[in-house]
Amino acid sequence: MLKPKTSTNEAETAIANEVIVTAVDEENSGFANLSASLTEIRKLKGVIGYILRSNTSAIIDLNEQDKIIEYAVLSTQMHDTSKEIAKQFNLGQTESILVEGKNVKVLCMSMGENKISVFMEKSATHAWIIKRILL
Protein backbone atom coordinates (compact mmCIF):
# COMPACT_ATOMS: atom_id res chain seq x y z
CA MET A 1 0.00 0.00 0.00
CA LEU A 2 2.96 2.37 0.34
CA LYS A 3 3.60 4.47 -2.73
CA PRO A 4 6.30 7.02 -3.44
CA LYS A 5 4.99 10.50 -4.14
CA THR A 6 6.18 11.51 -7.60
CA SER A 7 4.00 14.47 -8.44
CA THR A 8 1.15 16.50 -7.00
CA ASN A 9 -1.34 15.11 -9.46
CA GLU A 10 -0.34 11.54 -8.77
CA ALA A 11 -0.51 12.19 -5.05
CA GLU A 12 -3.99 13.66 -5.37
CA THR A 13 -5.09 10.69 -7.43
CA ALA A 14 -3.63 8.42 -4.82
CA ILE A 15 -5.44 10.29 -2.05
CA ALA A 16 -8.67 9.78 -3.87
CA ASN A 17 -8.11 6.13 -4.59
CA GLU A 18 -6.01 4.75 -1.79
CA VAL A 19 -6.39 4.75 1.92
CA ILE A 20 -2.70 5.26 2.48
CA VAL A 21 -0.51 7.67 0.57
CA THR A 22 3.10 8.20 1.43
CA ALA A 23 6.42 9.51 0.33
CA VAL A 24 9.17 8.96 2.82
CA ASP A 25 11.90 11.50 3.34
CA GLU A 26 14.85 9.49 4.55
CA GLU A 27 16.52 12.54 6.10
CA ASN A 28 13.55 13.13 8.39
CA SER A 29 13.99 10.42 11.00
CA GLY A 30 11.37 12.06 13.20
CA PHE A 31 8.84 11.44 10.47
CA ALA A 32 9.66 7.73 10.40
CA ASN A 33 9.44 7.49 14.19
CA LEU A 34 6.12 9.28 14.25
CA SER A 35 4.88 7.07 11.47
CA ALA A 36 5.72 4.02 13.58
CA SER A 37 3.96 5.50 16.62
CA LEU A 38 0.88 6.40 14.61
CA THR A 39 0.73 2.90 13.14
CA GLU A 40 0.44 1.62 16.71
CA ILE A 41 -2.05 4.33 17.68
CA ARG A 42 -4.12 3.46 14.61
CA LYS A 43 -4.79 0.03 16.08
CA LEU A 44 -6.42 1.49 19.20
CA LYS A 45 -10.13 1.10 19.61
CA GLY A 46 -11.95 4.25 18.56
CA VAL A 47 -9.16 5.62 16.34
CA ILE A 48 -10.52 6.05 12.85
CA GLY A 49 -7.42 7.31 11.14
CA TYR A 50 -4.58 9.78 11.00
CA ILE A 51 -2.70 12.18 8.78
CA LEU A 52 1.02 12.71 9.16
CA ARG A 53 2.74 15.23 6.97
CA SER A 54 6.00 17.09 6.76
CA ASN A 55 7.24 19.59 4.20
CA THR A 56 8.09 16.80 1.79
CA SER A 57 6.13 13.73 2.85
CA ALA A 58 2.66 12.67 3.85
CA ILE A 59 0.82 9.65 5.13
CA ILE A 60 -2.93 9.46 5.22
CA ASP A 61 -4.65 6.50 6.77
CA LEU A 62 -8.37 6.92 7.23
CA ASN A 63 -11.32 4.56 7.36
CA GLU A 64 -13.64 6.85 5.45
CA GLN A 65 -12.12 7.31 2.03
CA ASP A 66 -14.83 9.68 0.88
CA LYS A 67 -13.89 12.10 3.63
CA ILE A 68 -10.14 12.12 3.11
CA ILE A 69 -10.06 15.51 1.42
CA GLU A 70 -12.43 17.09 3.95
CA TYR A 71 -10.43 15.72 6.87
CA ALA A 72 -7.16 16.87 5.31
CA VAL A 73 -8.51 20.41 4.87
CA LEU A 74 -9.84 20.46 8.44
CA SER A 75 -6.48 19.24 9.73
CA THR A 76 -4.58 21.97 7.87
CA GLN A 77 -7.03 24.61 9.06
CA MET A 78 -6.65 23.51 12.67
CA HIS A 79 -2.87 23.72 12.51
CA ASP A 80 -2.93 27.16 10.87
CA THR A 81 -5.63 28.61 13.12
CA SER A 82 -4.00 27.44 16.32
CA LYS A 83 -0.87 29.44 15.50
CA GLU A 84 -2.88 32.62 15.08
CA ILE A 85 -4.88 32.09 18.25
CA ALA A 86 -1.84 31.09 20.30
CA LYS A 87 -0.10 34.28 19.24
CA GLN A 88 -3.15 36.42 19.96
CA PHE A 89 -3.61 35.11 23.49
CA ASN A 90 0.03 34.44 24.31
CA LEU A 91 -0.54 30.73 24.85
CA GLY A 92 3.08 29.87 24.09
CA GLN A 93 4.15 27.15 21.72
CA THR A 94 1.16 25.05 20.76
CA GLU A 95 1.37 21.53 22.12
CA SER A 96 -1.95 20.16 20.98
CA ILE A 97 -5.25 21.18 19.44
CA LEU A 98 -8.40 19.21 20.03
CA VAL A 99 -11.67 19.77 18.22
CA GLU A 100 -14.65 17.72 19.32
CA GLY A 101 -17.50 17.42 16.86
CA LYS A 102 -20.82 15.72 17.28
CA ASN A 103 -19.46 12.26 16.56
CA VAL A 104 -15.75 12.59 15.89
CA LYS A 105 -12.90 14.39 17.56
CA VAL A 106 -9.64 15.46 16.00
CA LEU A 107 -6.33 15.81 17.79
CA CYS A 108 -3.60 17.82 16.08
CA MET A 109 0.01 18.16 17.19
CA SER A 110 3.13 19.64 15.65
CA MET A 111 6.48 17.97 16.21
CA GLY A 112 9.03 20.16 14.51
CA GLU A 113 8.19 20.21 10.83
CA ASN A 114 5.94 17.17 11.19
CA LYS A 115 2.24 17.73 11.65
CA ILE A 116 0.00 15.04 13.07
CA SER A 117 -3.78 14.78 13.03
CA VAL A 118 -5.48 11.83 14.66
CA PHE A 119 -9.19 11.28 14.03
CA MET A 120 -11.11 9.29 16.60
CA GLU A 121 -14.50 8.54 18.02
CA LYS A 122 -15.52 10.80 20.89
CA SER A 123 -15.21 7.95 23.35
CA ALA A 124 -11.50 7.45 22.57
CA THR A 125 -8.97 8.71 25.12
CA HIS A 126 -7.04 11.46 23.41
CA ALA A 127 -4.87 12.18 26.48
CA TRP A 128 -3.32 8.76 26.14
CA ILE A 129 -2.60 9.37 22.46
CA ILE A 130 -0.85 12.65 23.29
CA LYS A 131 1.35 10.81 25.76
CA ARG A 132 2.09 8.07 23.26
CA ILE A 133 3.11 10.58 20.58
CA LEU A 134 5.32 12.49 23.00
CA LEU A 135 7.15 9.33 24.10
Partner: protein
Protein backbone atom coordinates in the same frame (compact mmCIF):
# COMPACT_ATOMS: atom_id res chain seq x y z
CA UNK B 1 -29.82 39.07 22.17
CA UNK B 2 -31.26 41.33 24.84
CA UNK B 3 -29.34 43.57 27.16
CA UNK B 4 -30.81 41.68 30.09
CA UNK B 5 -29.55 38.42 28.71
CA UNK B 6 -26.07 39.80 28.10
CA UNK B 7 -26.01 41.26 31.59
CA UNK B 8 -26.84 37.90 33.10
CA UNK B 9 -24.04 36.19 31.19
CA UNK B 10 -21.68 39.06 31.97
CA UNK B 11 -22.36 38.61 35.67
CA UNK B 12 -21.55 34.95 35.45
CA UNK B 13 -18.26 35.36 33.63
CA UNK B 14 -17.23 38.19 35.95
CA UNK B 15 -17.33 35.61 38.73
CA UNK B 16 -14.85 33.38 36.94
CA UNK B 17 -11.86 35.28 38.28
CA UNK B 18 -13.11 34.77 41.82
CA UNK B 19 -13.63 31.07 41.34
CA UNK B 20 -10.40 30.45 39.48
CA UNK B 21 -7.96 33.39 39.24
CA UNK B 22 -5.91 31.37 36.74
CA UNK B 23 -8.63 32.00 34.18
CA UNK B 24 -7.33 35.14 32.52
CA UNK B 25 -9.75 35.70 29.66
CA UNK B 26 -13.41 34.83 29.40
CA UNK B 27 -15.89 35.85 26.76
CA UNK B 28 -19.01 34.67 24.99
CA UNK B 29 -19.53 35.23 21.31
CA UNK B 30 -21.69 34.23 18.40
CA UNK B 31 -20.46 33.06 15.03
CA UNK B 32 -21.80 36.18 13.36
CA UNK B 33 -19.24 38.24 15.30
CA UNK B 34 -21.53 39.44 18.07
CA UNK B 35 -19.79 39.67 21.44
CA UNK B 36 -22.35 38.71 24.08
CA UNK B 37 -20.15 39.24 27.12
CA UNK B 38 -16.49 39.54 27.95
CA UNK B 39 -14.26 40.15 30.92
CA UNK B 40 -12.26 43.33 31.24
CA UNK B 41 -8.90 41.76 30.39
CA UNK B 42 -9.97 40.75 26.90
CA UNK B 43 -9.87 43.33 24.13
CA UNK B 44 -12.41 43.57 21.37
CA UNK B 45 -9.64 43.17 18.83
CA UNK B 46 -8.56 39.87 20.42
CA UNK B 47 -12.11 38.57 20.36
CA UNK B 48 -12.74 39.58 16.76
CA UNK B 49 -9.55 37.90 15.60
CA UNK B 50 -10.48 34.79 17.51
CA UNK B 51 -13.97 34.73 16.01
CA UNK B 52 -12.50 34.97 12.52
CA UNK B 53 -10.04 32.16 13.20
CA UNK B 54 -12.70 30.06 14.90
CA UNK B 55 -15.09 30.46 11.98
CA UNK B 56 -12.40 29.21 9.62
CA UNK B 57 -12.15 25.97 11.58
CA UNK B 58 -15.89 25.76 12.17
CA UNK B 59 -16.56 25.92 8.43
CA UNK B 60 -14.34 22.92 7.82
CA UNK B 61 -15.55 21.10 10.93
CA UNK B 62 -18.99 20.52 9.44
CA UNK B 63 -17.58 17.20 8.28
CA UNK B 64 -17.32 16.06 11.92
CA UNK B 65 -20.71 17.46 12.88
CA UNK B 66 -19.65 21.00 13.80
CA UNK B 67 -17.59 22.12 16.77
CA UNK B 68 -18.75 21.24 20.27
CA UNK B 69 -15.46 22.10 21.92
CA UNK B 70 -12.11 23.38 20.76
CA UNK B 71 -9.05 23.27 22.98
CA UNK B 72 -5.62 24.66 22.22
CA UNK B 73 -2.99 23.60 24.68
CA UNK B 74 -0.04 25.99 24.70
CA UNK B 75 3.18 25.85 26.67
CA UNK B 76 2.00 28.71 28.94
CA UNK B 77 -1.77 28.66 28.76
CA UNK B 78 -4.67 26.90 27.17
CA UNK B 79 -7.68 28.18 25.33
CA UNK B 80 -11.00 26.41 25.43
CA UNK B 81 -14.11 27.15 23.40
CA UNK B 82 -17.38 25.44 24.27
CA UNK B 83 -20.49 25.56 22.14
CA UNK B 84 -23.75 26.35 23.92
CA UNK B 85 -26.97 26.97 22.00
CA UNK B 86 -25.45 28.89 19.09
CA UNK B 87 -23.20 30.81 21.42
CA UNK B 88 -19.61 30.03 22.28
CA UNK B 89 -17.88 30.41 25.62
CA UNK B 90 -14.14 31.01 25.32
CA UNK B 91 -11.75 30.89 28.24
CA UNK B 92 -8.00 31.24 28.48
CA UNK B 93 -6.41 29.79 31.58
CA UNK B 94 -2.88 29.20 32.74
CA UNK B 95 -1.58 25.67 32.79
CA UNK B 96 -1.49 25.94 36.59
CA UNK B 97 -5.28 26.20 36.76
CA UNK B 98 -7.19 23.35 38.33
CA UNK B 99 -8.49 21.59 35.25
CA UNK B 100 -11.44 20.14 37.11
CA UNK B 101 -12.65 23.61 38.02
CA UNK B 102 -12.04 24.97 34.53
CA UNK B 103 -13.87 22.06 32.91
CA UNK B 104 -16.73 22.25 35.40
CA UNK B 105 -17.17 25.95 34.68
CA UNK B 106 -16.75 25.87 30.93
CA UNK B 107 -18.33 22.57 30.01
CA UNK B 108 -21.00 22.11 32.64
CA UNK B 109 -21.80 25.16 34.71
CA UNK B 110 -22.14 27.96 32.16
CA UNK B 111 -23.68 25.81 29.39
CA UNK B 112 -26.24 24.53 31.90
CA UNK B 113 -27.12 28.04 33.06
CA UNK B 114 -27.47 29.21 29.46
CA UNK B 115 -29.65 26.22 28.64
CA UNK B 116 -31.81 26.87 31.70
CA UNK B 117 -32.20 30.55 30.95
CA UNK B 118 -33.12 29.71 27.37
CA UNK B 119 -35.73 27.25 28.59
CA UNK B 120 -37.13 29.40 31.35
CA UNK B 121 -37.20 32.71 29.55
CA UNK B 122 -36.65 32.19 25.83
CA UNK B 123 -37.81 35.72 25.17
CA UNK B 124 -34.63 36.96 26.85
CA UNK B 125 -32.51 35.42 24.13
CA UNK B 126 -34.77 36.85 21.48
CA UNK B 127 -33.68 40.06 19.81
CA UNK B 128 -37.10 41.61 19.66
CA UNK B 129 -37.96 41.42 23.34
CA UNK B 130 -37.44 44.21 25.83
CA UNK B 131 -36.27 46.69 23.25
CA UNK B 132 -39.38 48.79 23.52
CA UNK B 133 -39.43 48.70 27.29
CA UNK B 134 -38.27 51.51 29.48
CA UNK B 135 -35.45 50.59 31.85
CA UNK B 136 -37.62 51.25 34.90
CA UNK B 137 -40.02 48.56 33.75
CA UNK B 138 -37.38 45.88 34.13
CA UNK B 139 -37.67 43.77 37.22
CA UNK B 140 -34.67 42.24 38.81
CA UNK B 141 -34.98 38.69 40.00
CA UNK B 142 -32.55 36.22 41.26
CA UNK B 143 -31.19 32.78 40.50
CA UNK B 144 -29.44 30.96 43.30
CA UNK B 145 -26.50 29.09 41.81
CA UNK B 146 -24.76 26.70 44.16
CA UNK B 147 -21.02 26.55 43.49
CA UNK B 148 -20.08 23.88 45.95
CA UNK B 149 -22.22 21.66 48.08
CA UNK B 150 -20.35 22.62 51.22
CA UNK B 151 -20.18 26.34 50.72
CA UNK B 152 -22.71 29.11 50.84
CA UNK B 153 -24.63 29.32 47.66
CA UNK B 154 -23.81 32.30 45.57
CA UNK B 155 -26.57 34.44 44.23
CA UNK B 156 -26.23 35.48 40.65
CA UNK B 157 -28.53 38.21 39.55
CA UNK B 158 -30.54 37.56 36.49
CA UNK B 159 -32.94 39.85 34.83
CA UNK B 160 -36.31 39.27 33.39
CA UNK B 161 -39.30 41.26 32.52
CA UNK B 162 -42.96 40.92 32.10
CA UNK B 163 -45.11 42.53 29.48
CA UNK B 164 -48.53 41.23 30.34
CA UNK B 165 -50.92 43.97 29.45
CA UNK B 166 -53.18 44.00 32.49
CA UNK B 167 -52.79 43.86 35.35
CA UNK B 168 -49.05 44.50 35.33
CA UNK B 169 -47.75 41.61 37.38
CA UNK B 170 -44.13 40.54 37.12
CA UNK B 171 -43.30 37.08 35.86
CA UNK B 172 -42.75 34.72 38.78
CA UNK B 173 -39.05 34.83 39.66
CA UNK B 174 -37.28 31.55 39.08
CA UNK B 175 -34.89 30.33 41.72
CA UNK B 176 -32.60 27.36 41.72
CA UNK B 177 -32.31 25.40 44.95
CA UNK B 178 -30.43 22.44 46.28
CA UNK B 179 -32.62 19.77 47.82
CA UNK B 180 -32.51 18.78 51.47
CA UNK B 181 -34.71 15.94 52.56
CA UNK B 182 -37.11 16.65 55.39
CA UNK B 183 -39.05 14.15 57.48
CA UNK B 184 -40.68 13.51 60.83
CA UNK B 185 -44.08 13.05 62.44
CA UNK B 186 -44.97 16.73 62.41
CA UNK B 187 -43.83 17.37 58.87
CA UNK B 188 -46.69 17.68 56.38
CA UNK B 189 -46.04 15.47 53.38
CA UNK B 190 -47.49 17.96 50.92
CA UNK B 191 -45.46 21.00 51.95
CA UNK B 192 -41.91 22.01 51.10
CA UNK B 193 -39.82 24.47 53.04
CA UNK B 194 -38.03 27.27 51.25
CA UNK B 195 -35.29 29.71 52.21
CA UNK B 196 -37.16 32.47 54.06
CA UNK B 197 -35.17 35.22 52.33
CA UNK B 198 -36.44 34.04 48.99
CA UNK B 199 -40.02 33.96 50.28
CA UNK B 200 -39.60 37.50 51.59
CA UNK B 201 -38.51 38.60 48.12
CA UNK B 202 -41.51 36.92 46.57
CA UNK B 203 -43.77 38.74 49.01
CA UNK B 204 -42.05 42.05 48.31
CA UNK B 205 -42.48 41.51 44.60
CA UNK B 206 -46.19 40.74 44.73
CA UNK B 207 -47.20 42.93 47.67
CA UNK B 208 -50.69 42.03 48.82
CA UNK B 209 -51.03 38.98 46.62
CA UNK B 210 -51.05 35.91 48.77
CA UNK B 211 -48.65 33.23 47.60
CA UNK B 212 -49.44 29.79 48.95
CA UNK B 213 -48.02 27.41 46.41
CA UNK B 214 -44.74 26.86 44.67
CA UNK B 215 -44.05 25.24 41.33
CA UNK B 216 -41.03 22.94 41.41
CA UNK B 217 -39.22 21.47 38.42
CA UNK B 218 -36.21 19.19 38.29
CA UNK B 219 -33.43 19.57 35.74
CA UNK B 220 -34.82 16.41 34.14
CA UNK B 221 -38.17 18.12 33.61
CA UNK B 222 -40.30 16.47 36.35
CA UNK B 223 -42.73 19.01 37.76
CA UNK B 224 -45.05 19.42 40.70
CA UNK B 225 -46.91 22.16 42.52
CA UNK B 226 -47.26 22.11 46.29
CA UNK B 227 -47.65 24.25 49.38
CA UNK B 228 -44.62 25.83 50.98
CA UNK B 229 -43.42 27.29 54.27
CA UNK B 230 -40.23 29.07 55.26
CA UNK B 231 -37.42 26.95 56.62
CA UNK B 232 -37.79 26.93 60.37
CA UNK B 233 -34.37 26.92 61.94
CA UNK B 234 -33.05 30.43 62.31
CA UNK B 235 -29.42 29.31 62.46
CA UNK B 236 -29.77 26.93 59.58
CA UNK B 237 -27.69 27.68 56.54
CA UNK B 238 -30.77 27.80 54.39
CA UNK B 239 -29.50 29.95 51.56
CA UNK B 240 -30.30 28.25 48.27
CA UNK B 241 -31.92 25.31 50.05
CA UNK B 242 -35.32 23.74 49.59
CA UNK B 243 -36.44 21.11 52.08
CA UNK B 244 -38.66 18.49 50.47
CA UNK B 245 -40.52 15.59 52.12
CA UNK B 246 -40.08 12.06 50.80
CA UNK B 247 -43.43 11.91 49.04
CA UNK B 248 -42.70 14.96 46.89
CA UNK B 249 -39.17 13.71 46.23
CA UNK B 250 -40.73 10.54 44.84
CA UNK B 251 -43.10 12.55 42.67
CA UNK B 252 -40.19 14.50 41.26
CA UNK B 253 -38.03 11.38 41.03
CA UNK B 254 -35.16 13.25 42.62
CA UNK B 255 -33.16 13.13 45.83
CA UNK B 256 -31.11 15.05 48.35
CA UNK B 257 -28.31 17.17 46.92
CA UNK B 258 -29.88 17.52 43.48
CA UNK B 259 -30.91 20.86 42.01
CA UNK B 260 -34.44 22.01 41.30
CA UNK B 261 -35.96 25.17 39.93
CA UNK B 262 -38.81 26.73 41.88
CA UNK B 263 -41.11 29.66 41.32
CA UNK B 264 -44.11 30.95 43.19
CA UNK B 265 -47.57 30.22 41.82
CA UNK B 266 -49.28 33.54 41.22
CA UNK B 267 -53.04 33.26 40.77
Amino acid sequence: MTEAYSTALQTIIDEFKNISPEITNTFIFKKNGEIVASNETTTEDQIKKLITAFNNVADQAETIGGIETLTIQGANSQLNITSMNNRYLATVSSRAADQKIVKTLTRIFVPTVVKLVDQIAPELADNKSLQTTKPEDKLIEEIVLPVEETSHNEQTPDTSASFSSEPLLPEPPVNQFMIEKIGGLLVPVDTVRVDSEVIAKWNDLYGDKQITQVHIETLEGKKTTCKFKPIKETNHNAKGIIQIPEKILQTLQTSKGKLVIAKPVIE
